[in-house]
Amino acid sequence: MPEYKVPLRDMQFVLHEVFKAENLWQTMPAMEDVNRELADAILEEGAKINESLVAPLSQPGHEEGVKWTDGVVTTPKGYPEAFRQLAEGGWGGLSGAPEYGGQTMPKMLVLLFEEMLYSSNIAMGLYLTLTSGAALAIDSHATDELKTKYLPNMYSGKWAGAMCLTESHAGTDLGMIRTKAEPLADGSYSITGTKIFITGGDQDLTENIIHLVLAKLPDAPAGSKGISLFLVPKMKVNEDGSVGENNGVHCGSIEHKMGINASATCVMNFDGAQGYLVGEINRGLQGMFTMMNYERLSVGIQGLSAAEAAYQWSSIYARERIQSRAPSGPVNSAGAADPIVVHPDVRRMLLTQKAYVEAGRAFAVYVGKQLDESKFGSGDVKGKAEGMVELLTPIAKAFLTDKGLEGTVAGQQVFGGHGYVREWGMEQLVRDVRISQIYEGTNGIQALDLMGRKIAANGGQNLNVLIAEMREFAASASSVSGMDEFLGPLRDAVDNLESLAEFVLAQAQAGDANAIGSASVEFLHVMGFTLYTYMWAMMTRTVLSGESQLGDAFGQAKIHTARFFIQRLLPQAKGLSESIRNGSASLMDIPEEAFA
């Protein structure tokens, strides 16, 4: 299994040269201490700990997996020590609030740390990022008392967090959950019920686990309007902050899964566990949604990360593996054959991975920028960013993970038969990334969220803001020499996106209740391709305008890859658009019983 190297140069290109993060941070009072030097130091230190500590545990963790014995979960060898080192390094509190010991770093930087963490080891990374996610929800909605009691230990990594939403009969449809919360005399609640698919529900990395649990009060309204959110620690916390006895929270079993074998996916039994309300009664889903934008971006980054690792390893293999001669004549005459990177189809697979990964990284940082502006910005900037976050989050989650699977499968393909054999590590990437298309809302749900809630529900308002921004960029960049070949396709893609959205909304307004659902996944992909075109145009503008200091070869490679994306990948948007324009009838006409 090859070594993972953090793509620092590309991260710096995106952060500093394309999005000029430092200029942005200077406009935000909460970010006044953050500058390029600090950002680079964080990226470099992050690279060290991930490359040397986290990545080497990935394959052994995959082979060993998590064990469950009589309610006790044991993570693979080396995981507790590695988690402790990450925690001590402060990596769990990067985006935490300063008053509770967090470092309040901007998301556009923190997400690059998440990228390295997941490229190194998704299973390990989840324990840390889910803790950050739980802390974020607590910070946004809990009382000061709860924050003071729980957040410092979560940011420091002494305690971990977990999200408890799903029940066996309620996944996508949370309105059906049955876990009960009975009010107690002291204002706390007694929580009883069973949750499934709880990542990090139990583990041996931390002395306590803080569960955020969705449950219903006895008199709550039916459906999703009757759900409340509770903080339920695994171990009770004493007045002095020390850990006390078990709180009636037990792991009933763990799942045997396709991948992320080192991540404990738990059935959690809450048996009269003491819980504390977070936010208002019956407003629990709102509390979850705050955090969900961050979580969904984070899951999207898992797709990016796995694809980055697959790209690195397959591009190394393609340069080392000798097999057959180049069609245009031998390039390695002294050897028995040429390296497979000479073969056009192998290059196609490598460039496909590269084009998606680099556009994906830029897109993730772009979404991170919107999250930062919506949180730390002010006025119009903040308002616009809030709309963009809503619009772009489902795309970040679904498109990055769909392209993540595609990238890892292409990387595996470059290895031929060896890609199927475990020791080479490629099949693990495919298996680990596959869940990212499913959890935190399946990609089908993301697409419905995009098309229904984020576009149709506001008459396309946010979409129009984005379309105007992309057109404005195309106009402003047209003065840069050499940009025509990228801006022409961008303008066409934006026009297509606009007319496609109009088409679907018109169908829906004309009374076709299935117009949105039957177009949604393909629409999300068309929008993803359009945004990636925008990212590639931004990146090539940076290079062609001479704003990049990263060297000619680096810049040239960006141009080559952009060209490949435009010529060989963007055409997929055509087929998808045509499919959408053919309407919903062919999906809905067939009666259910006629499927087989």
């Binding site: 054959a337 056009p344 199927y420 070869a553 490679a557």
Partner: protein
């Protein structure tokens, strides 16, 4: 774990009504007659075996996997017993030549049984499938003496077979292989070398394993022109033709893989093992290619059979699982929510699976008929056309059906949501097992080069023209038929466009040798979509002739509409991508792939 149910109605529809199997069987001069009763009996008995004996082994096989020890490889519990039952039932000999105890039935009928076996438990099916492929090769290429020594035992399934091609440094590029064969005084050879990725190289299901090994004779020309083929048995037959002395062939280890865990993937060490030349020296690849075409069609079947199994599992779940309400109003008002199948996007996934599975079934069964015609027809012209056409279609079937099968298996998993990722539900195993199919027997990239380089360009467009003429004629004949216009109009456009694209690529290739490789996979996928569009149009035409109230036939037409409207537009993307040429693929210097 989903229980497999053989899709008998569709199988019969494709065989009898679309592909007129009765006429086809009657046209095969050198095969045994197949009455409808016999055909029905074979299919229904095969279905029972697949459903009752093999399907229950699939998950156990994945969990237990194969285990290696010094004394050999142990297959999972129940594998050996199931095989004994299979062999006793006479299944291995179905399509074998009567001269060696075979039943002489057409391959296109044998393939139907293989599909069912494959859907039920692919790993198990590999042992018998590869054994029968090896036997078919010996029927054609081996000397009388070798045939007499080995074929009876192999035909009855008492002995198995393998193909030993790959070495650690050579997979796609067989010209690099190093295994050596030194001739002995008695005309036999000593074979020495190490082969990897040998499926069924060692196992406990059959009493002997007959390896077909590629090796070089001393002094042979370098590259692919110096490769010979040898029979190397695990046990040398004694004078009575029974298992005798152990030969110098041993399994060094087995691979730990993503899937098909119950299929032993072996490192095979040949240590001066006694081998016997098959055919002429240095002509080994020719014989191997013969076998490879049938193995490629068999691998295409993996895409179909896994796609079918995944579709069945997903459909059952989509009907049972209650989650959310339909956007057009509740469909299950008495329940807490509606079944998943009401949701448009879930339908999109299911219909994609259904369209690929049924389209691929018709396509593969048709190619199998062409192969039958080539081998067994008495009509020389029909034989030649069938040969050309099956050569063209085999790489399309192999790569397109496995690629779309993988897409389908991933959809099946996706329909299950989080449960799809959990092993006990069986959906993730289908994805893991199937993932190998785009890699072995020549990767998708290799199939695509074979199609565009060797078959299309190599025949000066002739092979393609045989097919496009058939489609052209079909469109002409069908366009006036009520209900056919929406299908044949689109099909005719794509058919003409296929020729245009080929011409343009041919021109480009004359000035740039990289154009073929840069276009090949897009070209293959394009070709696959058009091929399935043709099969779907044929199915619609038959369905339109039937009872208008028959729900099955109506569903055929509706699934065809879905295919034409929602999947076929992908051809446009592949066309644009490949016509944009090789430059953007080749221009970047190798060093720039990473910084």
């Amino acid at each position: 774990m989903p229980q497999y149910t053989a899709p008998l109605r569709d199988i019969n529809f494709v065989l009898k009504e679309v592909l007129n199997s009765d006429k086809h069987f009657a046209s095969l001069a050198t095969r045994e007659e197949v009455s409808e009763d016999l055909m029905d009996a074979i299919i229904s008995e095969g279905a029972k075996f697949a459903e009752n004996v093999l399907s229950p082994l699939n998950q156990v096989g994945d969990q237990q996997g194969c285990t290696w020890s010094e004394s050999g490889v142990k297959t999972p519990e129940g594998f050996k017993e199931a095989y004994q039952q299979f062999a006793e039932g006479g299944w291995p000999s179905m399509t074998a030549s009567p001269q060696f105890g075979g039943q002489g039935l057409p391959n296109s009928l044998g393939l139907v049984v293989t599909e069912m076996v494959s859907s039920a438990c692919w790993s198990w099916g590999m042992y018998t499938g590869l054994s029968q492929s090896a036997a078919r090769l010996l029927e054609v290429y081996a000397s009388d003496e070798l045939q007499e020594t080995y074929l009876e035992k192999m035909t009855s399934g008492v002995w198995g077979g393998t193909m030993c091609l790959t070495e650690s440094h050579c997979g796609s590029d067989l010209g690099l292989l190093r295994t050596k064969a030194d001739m002995n005084a008695d005309g036999s050879y000593n074979v020495t070398g190490t082969k990897i990725f040998i499926s069924g190289g060692e196992h406990d299901m059959m009493e002997n394993i007959i390896h077909l090994v590629l090796a070089r004779v001393e002094g042979a020309p370098s590259g692919t022109k110096g490769i010979s083929l040898f029979v190397v048995p695990k046990f040398l037959p004694d004078e009575n033709g029974e298992v005798g002395e152990r030969n110098g062939v041993h399994c060094g280890s087995i691979e730990h893989k993503m899937g098909i865990k119950a299929s032993a993937t072996c490192v095979m060490n040949f240590d001066s093992a006694k081998g016997f030349l098959v055919g002429e020296e240095n002509r080994g690849l020719n014989a191997m290619f013969h076998m490879m075409n049938s193995a490629r069609l068999g691998t295409a079947l993996q895409g179909l059979s896994a796609g079918e199994a995944s579709f069945q599992g997903a459909l059952e779940y989509a009907r049972d699982r209650l989650q959310m309400r339909s956007l057009s109003g509740p469909k299950n008002p008495d329940g807490p929510a509606d079944p998943l199948i009401v949701h448009a996007d879930v339908r999109r996934m299911l219909l994609t699976q259904k369209a690929f599975a049924e389209g691929s079934r018709a396509f593969i069964y048709w190619v199998a008929q062409l192969v039958d015609t080539f081998y067994f027809s008495g009509d020389e012209e029909a034989r030649r056309d069938a040969e050309e056409l099956s050569e063209l279609l085999t790489p399309i079937a192999k790569a397109f059906v496995t690629e779309t099968g993988l897409e389908s298996a991933n959809y099946g998993m996706q329909v299950y949501g989080g449960h799809g990722f959990i092993s006990e539900w069986g959906m993730e195993q289908i994805v893991r097992d199937l993932r190998i199919s785009t890699l072995y027997e020549g990767t998708t990239g290799i199939q695509a080069l074979d199609l565009l380089g060797r078959k299309v360009m190599g025949s000066g467009g002739k092979q393609l023209m045989i097919f496009t003429k058939i489609i052209h004629q079909f469109c002409k004949d069908q366009k006036e038929k009520p209900g056919m216009a929406p299908f044949v109009e689109k099909l005719a456009v794509l058919n003409a466009e296929w020729g245009d694209i080929t011409g343009k690529l041919g021109e480009k290739a004359m000035s740039n040798a990289d154009e073929v490789g840069a276009a090949s996979v897009d070209y293959l996928m394009y070709s696959g979509y058009v091929s399935l569009a043709y099969m779907w149009a044929r199915m619609v035409s038959v369905a339109l002739d039937g009872d208008a109230d028959d729900a099955f036939l109506k569903a055929k037409i509706q699934t065809a509409q879905f295919y034409y409207q929602r999947l076929l537009p992908r051809t446009e993307s592949h066309k644009l991508a490949m016509l944009n040429g090789a430059e953007s693929v080749m221009a970047m210097p190798e060093a720039s792939f990473a910084f």
